[in-house]
Amino acid sequence: MIRTPLRPLARILKAREQGQNPDAIEAENKRLRHEDDRDRSRLQAESRLLVMGVAFFCAFLVIGARMGMLAGSVPEEPTAQASGSPIIGQRADIVDRNGRVLATNLDTHSLYAQIPDMIDPAKAARELAAIFPELEEDELLEDFTGSRRFLWVRREISPEQMQAVHDIGDPGLLFGPREMRLYPNGSVAAHILGGATYGREGVNSAEVIGVAGVEKFFDDALRDPSRGGAPLELSLDLTVQAASERVLHGGMMLMQAKGASSVLMDVHTGEIISMVSLPDFDPNDRPRVLTAADNATDQSDSPLFNRAVQGVYELGSVFKIFTVAQAIELGLINAGTMIDTQGPLQWGRFRIRDFHDYGAQLSATDVIVKSSNIGTARIAMMIGGERQRDFLGQLGLLEETQVEMVEAPTGDPLLPPNWSEISTMTISYGHGLSSSPVHLAAAYSSLLNGGTRVEPTLLRQDGPQNGPRIVSEQVSAVSRDMLRAVVTEGTASFGDVEGYEVGGKTGTADKPRPTGGYYDDRTIATFASVFPADDPRYVLIVTLDEPSVEALGEQRRTAGWTAVPVAAEMTRRVAPLLGMRPDVETATPTGVTLTSN
């Protein structure tokens, strides 16, 4: 842009010549330039003001339109709780391996009050108190006449109660549809299923959320609308589960135990067919968690505690088979190798004893059959701590199980702080390392199914897991023979079930005192069994907490007298349910001739 200079030299010189004041020229030019500037900025401002005016007009228009849209829409009913996202009320069923229902939903209603719409609060309060004895008329009236506008009266009501409330006839009393989680089998599989409760609630639906067990572990999947309500298939067998519970409950009473658990696992697939923990509860009416007010030092006293998954115990002699199997796998011994069992075995300031004195030497099979601590400890010394730890790690005994329950991570095995030589010796016969019954079931399955690792699972599987190999087929077979020998001629002689060729290993562990050391009169009795021993299909672990039974004039606490008979009874009941035919020698009819005509 070419500007007129404020002092154009030609004009200044001319003015000077004519004797005029040149400043007047500058002042004039300045005034003109100023006016130019003003005009330019005024024109710019004019257009910008127009833009702003239009913008304001549009903004007001938008607000008015929005007001109109809101005014034209239907008002929402107020709710007691916030709802950011839409509430999805559906929750998929849970079924067992044969499709029988373990958890399902029942349509029901909740009762709420829109207080401004109520016509006769006094009458409504009086009649509601008559229908629901647990409600107080005074409190209801106070709520209905106070400043509240909305009130949940009952979360779930029965159809009869609904009709009665309907008959009160007050327009302020309204019903919201609900889905209620129902466990039709009551306490069967209670610990596995866990339980459910209401999450966010609206008047039109409420979320049902899992609080424990598989209900919580699979909460997202169960509520996921994209799965189309397909039921969750568990590996459990409902009839087997119910039978196991009944047998175990009877056994627990008979053996005067304060708790008991059992795990039945398919050795090839790792599927948990039944898993029981007693005492149990009804998931339809889940008891509350123990608090400090209950004087409970330990959540393990609560019926909610799942002993099979969460309870980590020193399981005792059931571990011996791992030591012997590893030694055979490493080629250090074979089934007939004679092991020094002269006792007691002195190691530093520790002394290892046997239950009886078994003489100077036993074969490796007899170490298992007679359950010699000294013999097992000596074999463990041959193996060494590092290899022992690796082997137990391969069996999954050193870390939490991956079983599909929220409680699984709390069943973390307790390991010795440093794996010293004395730890190696005690762990070889199951002391100094605590793990849960599910750990043990998975480890036994891995060892006995031919030697490949299985992970415990609660989901129905289609075929064997075929995990990494842990021991050879031969070692697995030798282990099975040894376990069978324990039942036929060893400590588990009560465990034989005719026709199912049960093999197993007993374990009796003294319970550790919270203050250190061990109790003399409190034990955990475990029987880890496998059947049939020549071609294993199932592993059954039965654990009794503090059993005590009087037999032959003595107070018996060992597994052979307590857990083994319970397990045998359970096998007897469950094996036919699993479709297994007892393998009894068919009595060949002598002297009878089949005739036909």
Partner: protein, 389 residues
Amino acid sequence: MTEMVYGTIPVGSGDPVLPRWWRTVDKWTLSCILALFGIGLLLGLAASPPLAAKNGFEPFHYVQRQAFFGSVAIAVLFITSMMSPILVRRLAVLGFLAAFIALAGLPFLGTDFGKGAVRWYSLGFASVQPSEFLKPGFIVVAAWFMAASQEIGGPPGKTYSLVLTVVIVLMLAMQPDFGQSALVLFGWGVMYFVAGAPIILLVGLGAIVIFGGTVAYSNSEHFARRIDGFLNPDVDPTTQLGYATNAIREGGFFGVGVGEGQVKWSLPDAHTDFIIAVAAEEYGLICVLAIIALYATIVVRSLMRLMKERDPFIRLAGTGLACIVGVQAMINMGVAVRLLPAKGMTLPFVSYGGSSVIASGIAVGMLLAFTRSRPQGQIGDILLRRGRV
């Protein structure tokens, strides 16, 4: 002839004030403002009895107070609108200084009335919020600076006004009062825009805002959740916003009827920040649209009149005043319909509050003074430039 050469003769001091005022004032805007005052009193009758009941006063205690403050505000409005722009500027600068000092003294002498932000001086019978009075004064001072910068050899007024804005925004943000500080910033922004902000700067700012917003939305989960929550059509019905939204829905097109509304009992700010919800519930969409139309008329009409204004100071100051009044109303109503995120801001002239009403009276009084029709030298244009602009 003299007139034609030198422009219109300045109006002599002997000319009667009131006829001249009536002849030149923007009667449409004035009527709209008076109508809004009236609506404010009417809504106060509906919205404030619950508060009065809660505080143990007779039902229409707050309506009486509002009527009193409203009368003061209208008187101030009339007096201010009769002043000449020069006088308005002088008084506004003095008023601005006083309000600025009062604002600076707040941390030492102010009270927070238990609301967590020190914004008020308590005078016993009433309380004063200096930031309300600061706004119109600030607009005038900033406009004065900017207009001065357009003189040849004038001071760098735009820089000065920016510094002043930043200082005030920081002081308000420290109270904290982000609503008022945003309003002050916005007022300065529109004046700078009209005073000739470079177009490159505007485009650049817009680009930065869009770019920054996109980056923040895609990278910061927190930010994204805030925005999503805001865009989400569902609102938690137990919050103030939820009550307000529901009240608008309850009201429908014609309202539930005078005195029949429920929302005023649930909303603690029914008489101030959410008075539009009360209006919507009791009088329906009709009343709300009327209120919106009144504000739109005030703002748009004032801006149109200012388009013709040749004096840069008057143009800028008028723009600033019209815009902050309009934007304040817009934010208040935008929050109630959830077009904007929640921000406590009163509805000018309508909401209850002494400081707010009187300060609004001063602001629109000044606006009316600035938008009065006065000679704009059109004849000079015709004669000197032969009709060229």
